[in-house]
Symmetry: C2
Subunit: 407 residues, 2 copies
C-alpha cells in the first residue's frame, strides 16, 4: 500500500513516515522545508537537533532496510504536485503540509495572508490533483480541534444533528476558530467536504488536539531519526513548553486564568491514529471527521501536573500567570467527543508523570540549546507583533530586529 506523507519534515510528519514505513507501507515523504526557513525568521529552533531529510531517510534505510522516498516539493506548485500524484497514484495521502502555528498567523497581515494562502491553496491544489489522477485515493487531512472553538454545548465529531422549528437535519458542526491559522483549517474543511460531495473523493479530516511528547519508538532508534521538539512561543505546544521551563528551573507560564480547556494527545497516539485511519478508509464520496485526542485538560491543570511530576523528585516548580496574549475564553464549558478512533482500535497513552519526566529528561540532555528569550509570548492576538517590533526598533536600530520579531 502506497502512502504519500505531505509535510514529512515536521514534528508529526516525520514520525508518521517512520511509523508507516516500519509497518510495511511504501512511503513517499514530501516537504518544502519551509518550516526550517520559518525557524530562521522567528529566531526559533528545535530543542532536539534534527538531521536533514537526506540523512534521515539514509539512516532509516541503514537501520531497518526499509526505503522512504524523499521528495522536496511545495504544494503551492500545482504542476509539480499533480505530477507527483500522477507518478505515484497513492492509496492514501496524509496531509500535514500546512503552516500550523496560531501565533505565527497572528503576527500581522503578511503572516495571516501567508498562512491562509499557503494552507488553502495547497489543499485546493491537492484536491484537484486527486480528482485528476487518483480519485479513489484516501485523503487523510490534519485539521485541529481549534476549529470548533469553545461552544457551550458538547462538541461532536464533525457533524451535529439539529432539531429546529419541528424539522431535523444532520449538519456540519458550527465552527468558531480562534486565529487566522485555525480559520485556515476551517476553510480547508469546507473545501474538502465540497470536493468529496461533488467529485466523489474520499477524505478523513482529523481534528487533532494539542500534541505533546518528543519521541516514538522509531525516532529513538538513532539520533539521526529524531523529530523536532518546539518549546517556544510561536511553534511550541503548551505541555512541551512547560517541560522546558521546568527543566531549566524557570516558572511555568500560564496564559491568563488558565481555565482554557483543550483536547490533548501523545505523539505516539498521533502516529497510531494515522495508521488506523488509513487502514479503515471511508467510502468513495464520503467526508468524515474524527476528533483526534485522548484527554481533556485545562492549561492550568497541566501546569499542576508538571509541578506534581517534579515534586515526586523533590523539586519545587513555580507557576505564574501572564496576561493572556490570545483572545479566548479563560473559563468555559468543554466536552468534546472522541470515540471514533477508539472504536477503530486506538489504545490511548494517557498522560502520566512518567511521560512528563521522560520529556523533561530529554530536555535536560539538550538544555544548552534552550533559547530562553523565545519562550515568553511575543505575539498579541489584538495587536500582532508589529507594534512590539516598531517599539523595539526605535531604540534598537539593528536590521535584525524586524526579521526576528522584535527580539
Amino acid at each position: 500500500m502506497r502512502v504519500i506523507v505531505l509535510g514529512a519534515d515536521g514534528y508529526l510528519g516525520w514520525p508518521t513516515s517512520l511509523h508507516l514505513s516500519a509497518r510495511g507501507y511504501e512511503v513517499v515523504a514530501v516537504d518544502s522545508l519551509v518550516r526550517r526557513r520559518w525557524d530562521t525568521l522567528c529566531g526559533t529552533s528545535s530543542l532536539v537537533p534534527i538531521a536533514t531529510m537526506e540523512r534521515r531517510v539514509a539512516r532509516w534505510a541503514a537501520e531497518t532496510g526499509r526505503n522512504i522516498q524523499w521528495v522536496r516539493l511545495d504544494l503551492r506548485n500545482r504542476a509539480d504536485l499533480t505530477e507527483l500524484i500522477t507518478r505515484h497514484r497513492p492509496d492514501a495521502v496524509v496531509h500535514f503540509a500546512e503552516q500550523r502555528s496560531a501565533p505565527y498567523s497572528m503576527i500581522g497581515a503578511e503572516q495571516a495572508v501567508e498562512t491562509q494562502v499557503n494552507n488553502v491553496v495547497g489543499t485546493l491544489n491537492l484536491l484537484f490533483a486527486l480528482r485528476e489522477s487518483a480519485p479513489d485515493c484516501h485523503l487523510v487531512k490534519l485539521g485541529t480541534m481549534g476549529e470548533y472553538g469553545t461552544p457551550n454545548i458538547d462538541i461532536e465529531e464533525g457533524f451535529i444533528e439539529i432539531e429546529h422549528n419541528g424539522r431535523r437535519d444532520r449538519l456540519p458542526y458550527p465552527k468558531q476558530p480562534g486565529s487566522f491559522y485555525h480559520l485556515s483549517k476551517v476553510h480547508d474543511s469546507h473545501n474538502i467536504m465540497f470536493a468529496c460531495k461533488t467529485w466523489g473523493l474520499r477524505s478523513t479530516d482529523l481534528n487533532q488536539g494539542v500534541v505533546y511528547g518528543c519521541a516514538t519508538p522509531e525516532t529513538q532508534i538513532h539520533p539521526e531519526l529524531r523529530t523536532r521538539f518546539d518549546y517556544d512561543d510561536i511553534w511550541g505546544t503548551v505541555l512541551n513548553r512547560y517541560c522546558v521551563q521546568a527543566a531549566i528551573g524557570r516558572p511555568l507560564t500560564v496564559y491568563g486564568q488558565g481555565g482554557q480547556t483543550r483536547g490533548f494527545i501523545d505523539i505516539r497516539d498521533t502516529v497510531r491514529c494515522i495508521e488506523l485511519t488509513i487502514a479503515n478508509p471511508p467510502q468513495p464520496g464520503e467526508y468524515r471527521v474524527f476528533n483526534q485526542f485522548t484527554e481533556q485538560f485545562s492549561v492550568g491543570e497541566l501546569a499542576e501536573r508538571v509541578r506534581e511530576a517534579r515534586r515526586a523528585h523533590g523539586l519545587e516548580t513555580e507557576i505564574v500567570h501572564l496576561p493572556n496574549p490570545r483572545a479566548e475564553a479563560e473559563s468555559h464549558y468543554y466536552n468534546a467527543k472522541h470515540q471514533k478512533l477508539i472504536e477503530l482500535g486506538l489504545q490511548p497513552h494517557l498522560l502520566a508523570e512518567t511521560l512528563i519526566e521522560d520529556v523533561i529528561q530529554t530536555v535536560e540532555r539538550h538544555r544548552h540549546r534552550v533559547r530562553v528569550e523565545t519562550i515568553e509570548p511575543r505575539v498579541d492576538w489584538r495587536k500582532g507583533a508589529l507594534i512590539n517590533l516598531r517599539a523595539r526598533r526605535t531604540s534598537d536600530r539593528s536590521p535584525r530586529a524586524r526579521s526576528t520579531l522584535g527580539r
Copy 2:
C-alpha cells in the same frame, strides 16, 4: 458621511454608488476593473453597453452636480488599500469587490484558486487596513444566500440557537456552500466574524439572494450611467438569462428538474438594503448577518413566471430542461428567514409581470448584442470546463480556443 464602495464597476457596485451619492453620501468608488478582463477571457459581454468609470463619474457630476471620486485599485495590493483607508477614513466600506461567479470558480483549478485567493486575501487585507486606520468603520460585506446551501431545516440569519444534550448555545449557522465561489464567501464570513470578535471591528454580512433587474432610477438618468447586464452561463443570473432567452425567441433553459429554490431580490431593493444597512450600523465588535432577499422561487417557477408574462402579450415561450451542470439538490426543503432588513424599513419590490416585461423590453433594445453561444452552460461542476476545452482543441486548433473556454 463618507462611504467607500469597493467593486464599484460591477452590476451592483455601480448602482449602489449612484444610490448613495444621490442621497448625499460622499462616495469613493473603487475597482480593479478585473471584471472587464474576465469578460474578455470568457468571451462574455454586458448586454447593455457600459461606459468607462471615468465617463460614468463625469456624467453623474454633469447630470446631478454630485461628485463621486473614482479610484482604480486591486484589494490584493495591501499597501495601496491601506493607504486608501488611511486617506479617507470612511464611516462605512461597502465590499462588493470579489469574483462572484460560481461557474467561473468551477472552470478548473486555476480559477478555483484565483477565486479563493482574490476574495479571501482582498477581505483579509481590508480587515487589517480597517484595524490599522479605521477601526470604527462599518464594514458592509456582500455575502450570498448560497453560503447556507439547502439544509432540511429553516435557514436563520447567520446564527442559530441550538439545544443539544441538555445545553444551549447560539452558534454560527452551519454552512454547506455549493461551489468554490460560494466557499470563498464562507471563508470570508468566518474571517470577518473573527476580526470583529478579536479586534472590535463592526460588520454586517449581507447574505444576498439572486439579483434580477437591469436598472435603478439613477442608472436610467443617462445611457452613460447604465449598469452592466449579464445573461450568459458564467456571469448571468437565472431570471435575467430567462428574459434574454424570451426576448430572442429561444426556449427558457431550466437546469435539471427545476425544483432548486433560492431567495431572489430586485436590483432596486439591493441598493436600498445597502443604504438601510449603512444607516443602522452594528455596535463596535458586533458581527451581524442579514439575509438580503425578498421572495423565494424555484428556478422552474421562475421560468413559468416569464412564460406567463409573455403570454399576457400573446406570445408563446417554450421551457426545456437541460442536464444540470451543477451538483445540487433539485427538489428540497427551503425556508429562509429575511426579517431584519424588513424591520429596518425595506419595502420590497416583489416580482411582477411588469418587471419581467420591462427587462425583456430592455433586452429587445439591445438584442443585436446577444451572444447566443454564451447562454448554454459550458462549465460542469463535476468535470470543470477543461474537458470541453481539450475536446474542442483537438478539432479546433485556434489559439483562441483555450482563452475563450472552448467556445
